[in-house]
Symmetry: D3
Subunit: 148 residues, 6 copies
C-alpha cells in the first residue's frame, strides 16, 4: 500500500495483498528463530490432547511477521513506522492456512512539514474468510510537496 506519497491517500481506501500459506515448516522455523517453543506451537501430542484447538497453531508473532512481508513498502515513501495501536489475536492460524493482508486507511494527518501520518487498520485474513489478527498502526510518510 505504501508505494505512493501522502497526497494520494484518502480515508477509507483499501488494499489487499497476495496470499501466503503458513506451513508446519514455518512454525518450526519461527519457533527456532524466536526461541518461543511454547508447546501449543511445537508439541503435537500436547496440542492435540490438551488444547481446545486439538492441533498446533502458529505463533501470533509469526503471523504478524509474515504479514509485514506481504505489504508493499517503498523506501522513497516511508519516513518512520511509529508502532502498533490496539492489536488483537482473534482466530488461530493453523498449519496450511493461507493468509493475506487487508489494509484500510482510517485517518490522515498532514504534518505541514513535507510529511503526513497515515493511520490504518491492518487485518490478517485466512482463506476461510476469518480474521486472524486485527490492529491499528501509524506510519509517517513523505508528501509530494516537501514545503508543507
Amino acid at each position: 500500500m505504501f508505494d505512493k506519497k501522502f497526497e494520494h491517500f484518502s480515508v477509507g481506501e483499501t488494499w489487499i495483498s497476495r496470499g501466503r500459506t503458513i506451513t508446519e515448516a514455518d512454525i518450526v522455523m519461527f519457533s527456532a528463530f524466536s526461541g518461543d517453543w511454547y508447546p501449543l506451537h511445537t508439541d503435537k501430542e500436547y496440542a492435540e490432547k490438551q488444547t481446545p484447538f486439538k492441533q498446533r497453531i502458529a505463533h501470533g508473532m509469526l503471523v504478524l511477521s509474515a504479514a509485514t512481508g506481504l505489504q508493499k513498502m517503498d523506501p522513497e515513501i516511508i519516513v518512520a513506522f511509529y508502532g502498533v495501536e490496539k492489536l488483537r489475536f482473534i482466530t488461530p492460524t493453523f498449519i496450511n492456512d493461507t493468509i493475506h493482508v487487508e489494509m484500510k486507511v482510517l485517518d490522515l494527518q498532514d504534518k505541514q512539514n513535507g510529511t503526513g501520518v497515515v493511520t490504518f487498520e491492518e487485518k490478517v485474513v485466512k482463506q476461510t474468510g476469518e480474521t486472524a489478527i486485527i490492529g491499528t498502526f501509524k506510519v509517517l510518510i513523505n508528501k509530494e510537496n516537501k514545503e508543507g
Copy 2:
C-alpha cells in the same frame, strides 16, 4: 515471568530476562522468513549512504519476536494472550546489539472465575541501556483457586 498463578502476582513487580545478541545472521534470516526485504534491513550500501543510521537496522518485528522467546511462559499458567496495547519502536537495534526484556506488572484484574488478567509493560532494552521497544500487553492466566 508467567511461571506462577495469578494470586502470586503483585502490581509493580518486575522481571528481567537473559540477553540475546542480534546478529547480521538474525537480520538475514528474519528478512527471509518474513519476506520483508526493506533496504534499511538488507541493503548495506543503501543503509550506510541513505539513512540517518548509517548502517542496517533490525526489523521491529524481529526484535519483538526475539523478545517473546526471552520470556518464561508456563502452559499450566497461561490461558490466553489477548494482544498488544500501545506499542512504540523507540531506538533502532543494530547488528551486534544485545537485547533483554524487562517486564513490569501494571494492573491485576481478578475475573472471579478461576482466572485473572495481568496487564504488564514490556520493554526491550539494549546493552547500552537504551529502550528499543516499549509496549503494554494483556494476558489471561490461571488462579490457584479454580472456584473464584
Copy 3:
C-alpha cells in the same frame, strides 16, 4: 519487470531492481540448503590460502537465486518461464557485496494466441559496477488481447 502485459513491452527497454547485500550468513545458508560445501565457499582457511580470490566467494547459484527474488513477477502476467539461454559467471560475489539486477528486453515475439515471448538479458551487478553474472532468458507472458 513482468508486471505488465506483452503489448506494453518494447525492445531495448530496461528495468533495475532494488539491492541486496550478500552476507556470510547467506553463503552459510545456501551451502546448507544446496548441499554444495565446496571449500571455496565454506572453508575460510582454504579460500584465503589456496585460491586467487584470497577469500570465500558466493556460489554462482546463490547469486542467481537471490536475483530471481529481486525481480517483479506478476502471476497475472507470466504464463511460463522457458529457461536460460547462455549464462556466464563473470566476477565473483564476495561477502558483503551488494547486488542488484538489470534487465533489458532483447526481443519480442507475438505468438498470435493471446501470448508473447519476451527474450531479455539479465545482469547481476555489484555495488562496484562490475557484472557478476550475465545471461539471456525467455519467458512467455499474456497479452491484453486474448484473441490474438
Copy 4:
C-alpha cells in the same frame, strides 16, 4: 563426477547421483532465501485453484540449486565453472518428489596448457523417470600432465 583429472574422462561416459526428496520445507526455505514468493510456490489456495498443476511446485532455481549439491566436485580437479549453455525446465517438481542428477560427457577439449574443458549434459530426473530440468554446462578442469 568431477573427482578425476581430464585425461580420465571420455565422451559419452555417464554419472548418476544419490537422490534427494524435495519437501514442502525445502520450498518454504527456498522462497525465504531467494525472496521469490511467487504464489505458484507459496500459496496453496492459489496453486490448487488457479494453476494447471493443482498444487504448489518447487522453484526451478531450487531444483537447480539442489542439483549442484548432488554432484561430486573435487577442488583439486576443478579450475573454473564457465556457466550454463541452453537450460530448459521441462517437468515441474512437486512436494515429495525425489530428484537425482544424471550427467553425460558431451565433449572434451584439451587446452594444451595443463587443463581441459569438459562439456556435459546435466539432467535432473524425478523418481517417476521424468526429466525435470535438462541443460548443457562447461567446466575447466586440471590435467595430470601440467605441461600440456
Copy 5:
C-alpha cells in the same frame, strides 16, 4: 535440571522436560545444517523401499541436539560440561514423533573446591514410551559453599 547448586542434588532424583515434535522440516534443516544427507534421512524413495524402517528417520545427532535444548541450564550453576560417556541410539525417531528428555542423577562427587561433579543418565523418550537414545553424561557445577 541444572538450575540449582550442587548441595541441592541427590542421587536418584529425576527431572522431565517438555516435549518437542520432530517434524520433516527439522530433518530437512538438520541435514542442511550438518551436511549429513545420508539417504536414510533425506531420500523418501530409498527410505521406503530399501530400509527396514520403510520411512525416513531423524539423524541421531538431530535428536541429541534437540535434547540439549529441552534441558534447563543456568549459567550461574554450570562450570563445565565434561562430555559424554557411553551413548546408544536405541529406537529411531520418525517424522512427527514427539520427544522429551528424562534425566536421573547417578552419582555426586564433591570436589571440595566450591564445585562438584554430577553424573547423570539422560534418556530421550518418544510419545510411544520407547527410549530413542540413552547415555551417561558428566557436568561440573557450582556449590553454595565456595570455600569447600
Copy 6:
C-alpha cells in the same frame, strides 16, 4: 571413511576430511534449531565480560553435528551406527575457526555373519592444530563376503 567394505579396513589406518569454517551464522542457526540459547553461545556481552574465553563459543553439539557431515558414509556399507563411547570436549571452537575431522581405526571385529564392527577414534581438529573434540565410536558395516 566408510566408503569401502569391512575386509578393506586395517587397524591404525587414518582418514582426514575437508574443512568447514564455523561462522557466527552457524552458531545462531544451531542455537535456533536446538533451542539451546545458553548465553555463552548467544549473548556477546555475557561471553565477553563473564567467561574465561572472552567471546562466544560454538555449542559442543554443533561441532559434533558439523563433524558428521564432513565424513564420507556410503549407504551400501553402513549397517548400523552403534553410538558413542567416551567423548570429551577439549578446546572450544570460536567464531571463524575452521574444523576438519581426523579418523583412525582402533579395532576391527569380524561378526562372521557378513558384517563387522569398526571401532574408530574421531577427532575434530581446528586450523590451529588444537583438538576440539575427541571420542570413540562403533559402527557395524558390511563385508564383501556375505556368507561369513
